[in-house]
Structures are given as C-alpha cells and as structure tokens.
Amino acid sequence: MKSLKVNGVERQFAPDEMPGTLSALLSVLGVGPATVVAEVDGRIVRREEFDRTQISDGQQIELIKLMGGG
C-alpha cells in the first residue's frame, strides 16, 4: 500500500490506485479545484499547477480553501 497524509489524515492507496498528480488526488477526493490551494510537503502549489504536480508515496498534502471570516 501507498499512503498520503491529506489535511492531517493518513490515506492508504493500492499501488495501482495511487493518484499520480494533485489534480488526480482532488478528483479521487471529490474536491473542486477552483477554490483550492495546496501545500505539498510545505511547498505552495497554485491551482493552475495541479495538473502537472506529481505526488508520491509518503507526502504530506494540505488542501486549503477560502471561507467566511472577519
């Protein structure tokens, strides 16, 4: 099994189901990329770069979005 830590939660993937890019991960999780920015192992990735951002076993990924606030 391969794993990714997404927003603090460990997620397991069978080797042939492991998403190869951030876009693929978002699609597996059902997250709409329009409002989201990501951090992969602490490096900020803009949404325009999700398609070409490769992800790999063991990485820590944060998916952040804007929400209401004062």
Binding site: N7, L29, R46, E62, L63, K65, G70
Partner: protein, 257 residues
C-alpha cells in the same frame, strides 16, 4: 466625503465587512450589497474532505469586492506568514489582514508576533493590514515597518461591546500616518459612527451584521452610520463645553429686567 486611500487604492466606502457567520451565502451577498462595502475579509481553512464541495463564498462577486484574506487562526508569526503566502496563492491578491491571536478566549492579538510577521510580509511585497490592540506605540512601529494601515480593536472580536478602547484609539488617530481601521467589537451602528467621529478612517464589521436578525437591514444601518460619522468628522464638530450656551441671545425676553 473624502475617499479612503489604502496603499494607493481609492475606495468610496469606509465600511469593510467580514464574511463569517452568515446564515447562507445568499444572505451574505445581499448584506454585502446593502452595506455598500468594497472590501470584504475572508479566512483560509483546510478543505473539509467529508464535505469537499462546500463553497460559502461562491456568491461573492470578485469584480465588485476586493477580497482581503485574513490570517485568523495563526498563533505565531511563522503561522501567519505561511497563511499569508497561501492566501496570495489562492487569490492572486497580495493584500492580507494580519492577525496573530494566540489566546483563544479573548482572541487578543500578540503585538510581538504581529510585528515580526509584518516585517517579513512587507519585505515580501504584501500590502499588510495588521489587527492590533489599541496600542499607539505598536501602531507607530508597524507604520514604520511599512504596513498599509493599522487595525486597532474597539473591543474583543465578536463581543459587540463597542469602543472600549476609545482613549487609546484617539491617540492612534492623532499620530498615525496610515489609515486607521477600527476592527472588532463594534456591535451597533452607533459604535461605528463613534469610531468615525473620532477620526478613524474606516471600520470593519462582521458579527454585528451577520448575526443580526435581519443582516441586510443591519448592513444598511452600518453603512449609514459610517457615512454619518465620517461626514460629522469632516464637518468639524465643536468641542464640548462644561456649561450651557444658549442657542438664542439671552436678551429681548418678554419681561422687564
């Protein structure tokens, strides 16, 4: 009314509105519209993976409103800088309302971490609007670092207590070379008007509008109060007197002296 200028950008409205706590995105959109505001604050949080399509900000017209991301939730300069960079990546906007609030009970801002974060962010090209306690010395220090405004609190966030810090706010207004935006604790339109009457350049309101029974009507009430307070300030109110001063001459009465 004079325009509000922040970092070289001109605004007609002197009311900034926060987007938290609204019952629905539609009510929020109508309240923002009624408020006449041009700047709206937003927060950054982790996507809820169990409810990943939730987008409470979908009704905000980004051509009409300047989004001002905040760093709420940051407890240190380091966290605030990280959130600011994420906000810039998410929005393409380099404006940030800097908040560092280590104490979850009163949500009071840490002056030391706020100043540290401001130094870093200004160097990185951010337009920084720091949320601070009403501390005139800190306000000057931040201004010297290059922040675009200072945002002293009236009272704790969401408390609706009004201008508990009035005396210190007056000193900040007197000394500041950057716009003073009174943020936090304004619970009634009269609080906002009072802040504007003492010379604040703008106010930020969230809870008082969002948590009202009718947020759209309350947004309009705040709009009118901010405008009234600002117009009164620009009109130059006369200082209070200790004794009465008659409005008509004290002569010509219908009696013989």
């Amino acid at each position: 009314m004079e325009k509000l200028i922040i970092a070289g950008r001109a605004f007609d409205s002197r009311l900034l509105v926060g987007t938290g706590k609204f019952a629905s995105p539609k009510v929020m959109a109508r309240a923002l519209s009624a408020s006449g505001c041009e700047i709206v604050t937003v927060a950054l949080r982790r996507v809820d993976i169990d409810n990943p399509t939730d987008d409470t900000l979908r009704e905000i017209d980004r051509d009409r409103f300047l989004l001002l991301p905040n760093t709420s939730g940051a407890r240190s300069a380091e966290e605030a800088v990280r959130l600011s960079r994420l906000a810039r990546a998410a929005t393409g906007i380099n404006w940030v309302k800097l908040e560092v609030t280590p104490d979850p009970y009163y949500l009071l801002p840490c002056p030391i971490e706020t100043l540290k974060a401001a130094e870093v962010l200004v160097k990185e090209g951010f337009v920084v609007l720091p949320y601070i306690n009403a501390d005139p010395i800190l306000a000057k220090r931040l201004q010297d670092v290059g922040t675009a405004t200072v945002m002293p609190l009236g009272s704790p966030i969401g408390s609706n207590q009004g201008l508990k810090t009035r005396a210190a706010l007056e000193i900040i207004v007197e000394q500041s070379n950057v716009p003073v935006v009174v943020d936090a604790g304004l619970g009634l339109p009269s609080h906002a008007a009072e802040a504007m009457e003492i010379g604040a350049d703008a106010v930020l309101v969230n809870t008082a509008i969002a948590a009202a029974s009718d947020p759209v009507e309350m947004a309009l009430a705040f709009k009118l109060a901010v405008e009234a307070g600002r117009r009164a300030y620009e009109a130059g109110p006369r200082d209070p007197l200790r004794k009465a001063e008659a409005s008509s001459p004290l002569t010509g009465f219908l009696r013989d002296e």
